[in-house]
């Protein structure tokens, strides 16, 4: 199922400067949205990327596809370093192989374009249609084919986005992303804006398409249940860093990082009896500001199992089990000691 690394991220940083001054702008601080993360996407796999709001998941995806300029690090893909590649080469040689599905199906479609124009846009931009004009047979055929691929009907060709439901719009977004036959698709919370009933349809569609077209996904979500369902491996992000990466099932069964443990305990279980009796860990304190500079572990301020070393030394990602890495001084191959997290019954 999974093979060679297709896309490799090394030490990626995205910092947004905070500037003041009307005439002489000067930097007074930085938001460290992504602060040195490394991972690889292997051929044909789905890597889930989870974490709470504001931890830098979306920024990571946007930096890979260069919607924001990375501050440092490299992104190796198809023999290029996307972090430093010029925009022209990026557009001509990379973009059609690296696509993105956006979170908000309402905002990511131009309201003034018909479905045919929307789905035909990448074909035209990448020069993949003979004539390139909406309404010509060649383009229309390919658009029809794409619509059928994502479960829409050719009747929808001449409609506008506002005439569709959220799920249908997300299907249009998926058709657009797939139009150029990409190898890697970055899914930026593709189902977060949808009703629960529609989420399953869209997730299943994404899985079907992966099997059919051999796609590689980076699947960003904050819903751990969805991620578990679709992912082969899961990476957990906290405050601009990856704190744990593991095979999907293992991370749910044996989380090594205390943050992952806390995150998992926040998943609601649709069984009142279980839900009432289980131990839940409520993290103390707000999520700290990403403008702060850290010497030690970023999670130390909120961590229930921290030791003195956590405040002074930054823990590296260590492979505790095969294919399972975590960045924590306290944890070991068998996870944290039972009861160490100080869970409480609700």
């Amino acid at each position: 199922m999974t093979g060679e690394p297709l896309l490799t991220v090394r030490g990626l940083e995205v910092h947004f400067p905070i500037e003041r001054g009307v005439f002489f702008r000067h930097e007074i601080g930085r938001v460290r949205a992504v602060d040195g993360i490394s991972f690889e996407l292997r051929q044909g796999e789905t890597l889930g990327l989870v974490g709470e709001s504001g931890c830098g998941k979306s920024t990571t995806a946007r930096a890979i596809i260069r919607l924001v300029q990375p501050t440092a690090g490299e992104v190796r893909f198809l023999g290029h370093d996307l972090a430093t590649l010029d925009e022209e080469t990026m557009r001509r040689e990379v973009r059609r192989h690296l696509q993105m599905i956006f979170q908000d199906p309402y905002a990511c479609l131009n309201p003034r374009m018909t479905v045919e124009q929307l789905v035909g846009e990448p074909l035209r931009n990448f020069g993949l249609s003979t004539f390139g004009l909406a309404g010509t047979g060649d383009l229309r055929d390919r658009v029809t084919e794409l619509l059928q691929l994502v479960g829409l009907s050719p009747r929808h060709l001449d409609r506008y986005p506002h005439e569709f439901s959220g799920g249908q719009r997300q299907r249009i977004g998926i058709a657009r992303a797939l139009a150029a036959n990409p190898q890697v698709v970055l899914c930026d919370e593709p189902v977060s804006a949808l009703d629960v009933s529609i989420q399953a349809q869209v997730v299943n569609l994404l899985q079907d398409l992966q099997d059919q077209l051999g796609l590689t996904y980076l699947f960003i979500a904050h819903d751990l249940a969805v991620v578990r369902h679709i992912s082969d491996r899961v990476a957990v992000m906290y405050l601009g860093r990856i704190v744990e990466v593991a095979p999907a099932d293992e991370i749910y069964d044996l989380p090594l990082h205390p943050y992952t443990v806390a995150l998992l305990s926040a998943i609601p279980i649709p069984d009142p009896a279980v839900q009432r009796s289980r131990h839940r860990i409520a993290l103390q304190g707000e999520i700290p500001s990403p403008t702060k500079q850290y010497q030690g572990c970023r999670f130390a301020d909120r961590c229930p199992v921290k030791i003195a070393r956590c405040h002074t030394e930054d823990p590296p990602l260590v492979e505790h089990r095969p294919g399972h890495v975590a960045a924590c001084w306290v944890t070991g191959p068998n996870g944290l000691a039972a009861g160490a997290m100080g869970g409480r019954a609700d």
Binding site: L67, Y106, A107, N110, P111, R112, E121, Q148, Q168
Partner: protein, 471 residues
């Protein structure tokens, strides 16, 4: 393959424009405005077919005629010949119309032959210097009550009691500066020279027979329309009707208002198109580029905003000539500023929208994004601006005409509505006895400006992004 998603009802597709049109149709004032504007534009385009008069054609002897006045067509002539249509067909009007209605007619026409004497009139600086008749010279020449004068080959006959040295030649004379000689005919029409001519017209509109006083005529016969009585058409005399009266030069006011509409609307549309094109592109580029480029470009706009624009326009027109092109440049220079600002603001907010990011990932170049995604999304604002800028430009041009800066086209002042209103104000008379010269052009202008503003307001409501539903 995934299951087909639930379908919305199979209603015909509604684009954003179709939705706006639906909303606009519910706005009565805007629709009334739209109807008036379209009617005005249509009659401006069709002006030559609506009124039979050239707006510049002067019939000075008539003076200013009140609205509804009908008067005789005085000087046109018609040539009839067997086997041919009467020429020219459209003159005199009533006869011409009868000739082309496809039915057979017999025109019984009373023709008055005339006796003419030639006068040699020397004019200098618009004043009569000499009047020569045969070998004699006159200082004053009485024209009898049954006599007329007419500039030879110049057209119209004029009733004047007297021609005098030092006076003005009342007939339309060649427009020449300095000293020149005009040949003037003194026309007498003896009652005994009256005869009846019968012209029979076939269904093809061609003359079958012509008889004069009962005697058949062969070949060409010239009939002066002023003396024609078409007894076959209820005995009606051939008349011109001026529903809105004429001005002091004898020009038809309706014709002038309609042809004025052509000029005013043309100026409004062209200047608006020029200024909006500049404004949209300038604003779009500033907003899209952002940063220092944006700041620099917008400061330029601020500086131009600060100039007193009407002085700017006046200075430009005075310095570079009052040509139509200069007027477009002067008005365009002023009017592009506001759309540039508004479009820039729109682009600034639009370029942060997610569909722009989506387009970038789908391989769009910055230029594609600007042209295909951003500018089309500002079109709602641009349409509203168009309908509000056209009346503003019309008003400005009228103001310039009103203060005497009438724009020249091919050396002649253009008769825009503003120029007509200015003329009407001057010709009004102490008691407002020539009110129609001011009221009709002013009414046409006000009605059009009001309508355009109502339409603009209606469009703004119809295209208001706040009303756009998300589902």
């Amino acid at each position: 393959m995934a299951a087909t998603a639930p379908e919305p009802d199979d209603v015909p597709s509604d684009g954003p424009w179709a939705q706006a049109w639906k909303r606009l149709r519910r706005n009565r004032m805007a629709m009334a405005g739209l109807v008036v504007v379209l009617a005005m534009a249509l009659s401006a385009v069709l002006a030559p077919w609506i009124v039979p008069f050239d707006p510049r054609e002067m019939e000075r002897w008539t003076g200013a005629l009140a609205p509804g006045t009908r008067h005789l067509e005085l000087c046109n002539e018609m040539v009839v010949e067997r086997g041919k249509a009467p020429r020219p067909q459209d003159v005199p009007t009533a006869v011409g119309k009868a000739a082309v209605d496809g039915a057979a007619h017999v025109w019984r026409i009373e023709v008055q032959d005339e006796v003419t004497t030639l006068l040699r009139v020397t004019v200098d600086g618009g004043k009569i210097q000499q009047i020569g008749e045969g070998g004699k010279r006159h200082t004053t020449l009485e024209i009898a009550e049954d006599e007329f004068i007419r500039v030879k080959d110049g057209g119209a006959v004029v009733r004047v009691p007297v021609l005098a040295v030092g006076g003005v030649l009342p007939a339309p004379a060649p427009q020449q500066a300095g000293r020149f000689v005009v040949m003037v005919e003194r026309v007498k029409r003896p009652p005994e020279a009256k005869r009846t001519v019968e012209i029979a017209l076939g269904t093809d509109g061609k003359v079958t027979t012509v008889t004069s006083a009962g005697v058949p005529v062969d070949g060409e016969m010239r009939v002066r329309a002023e003396n024609v009585r078409d007894t076959s058409l209820d005995g009606a005399r051939i008349e011109h009707s001026h529903p809105l009266g004429t001005d002091q030069e004898g020009r038809d006011v309706l014709a002038r208002v309609l042809f004025g509409a052509r000029i005013s609307l043309l100026v409004g549309i062209v200047a608006t198109f020029v200024s909006l094109s500049i404004g949209v592109f300038y604003g779009a580029i500033a907003g899209f580029a952002g940063g220092r480029t944006d700041v620099f470009m917008m400061r330029v706009v601020d500086v131009l905003y600060a100039l007193p624009y009407i002085f700017l326009v006046i200075i430009l027109l005075v310095a570079f000539g009052r040509s139509l092109v200069m007027l477009f440049i002067a008005l365009g220079l002023v009017q592009w500023l506001t759309p540039a600002r508004v479009v820039r603001g729109q682009i600034l907010s639009l370029k942060r929208r997610e569909f722009v990011d989506a387009s970038v990932t789908l391989g769009a170049t910055p230029w594609t994004i600007l042209i295909r995604h951003l500018i089309p999304n500002t079109m709602g604002v641009v349409v509203v601006f168009t309908t509000l800028t056209i009346p503003a430009v019309i008003l400005e041009e009228s103001f310039l005409s009103f203060i005497g800066l009438t724009v020249l086209f091919r050396g002649e002042p253009i008769d825009s509505w503003g120029a007509l209103v200015d003329y009407g104000r001057n010709a009004l008379g102490g008691d407002g006895e020539r009110w129609w010269l001011l009221v009709f052009p002013a009414a046409a202008m006000s009605l059009t400006l009001f309508s355009l503003n109502f339409l603009g307001d209606g469009l703004r409501d119809a295209l208001d992004p706040r009303q756009k539903g998300r589902g």
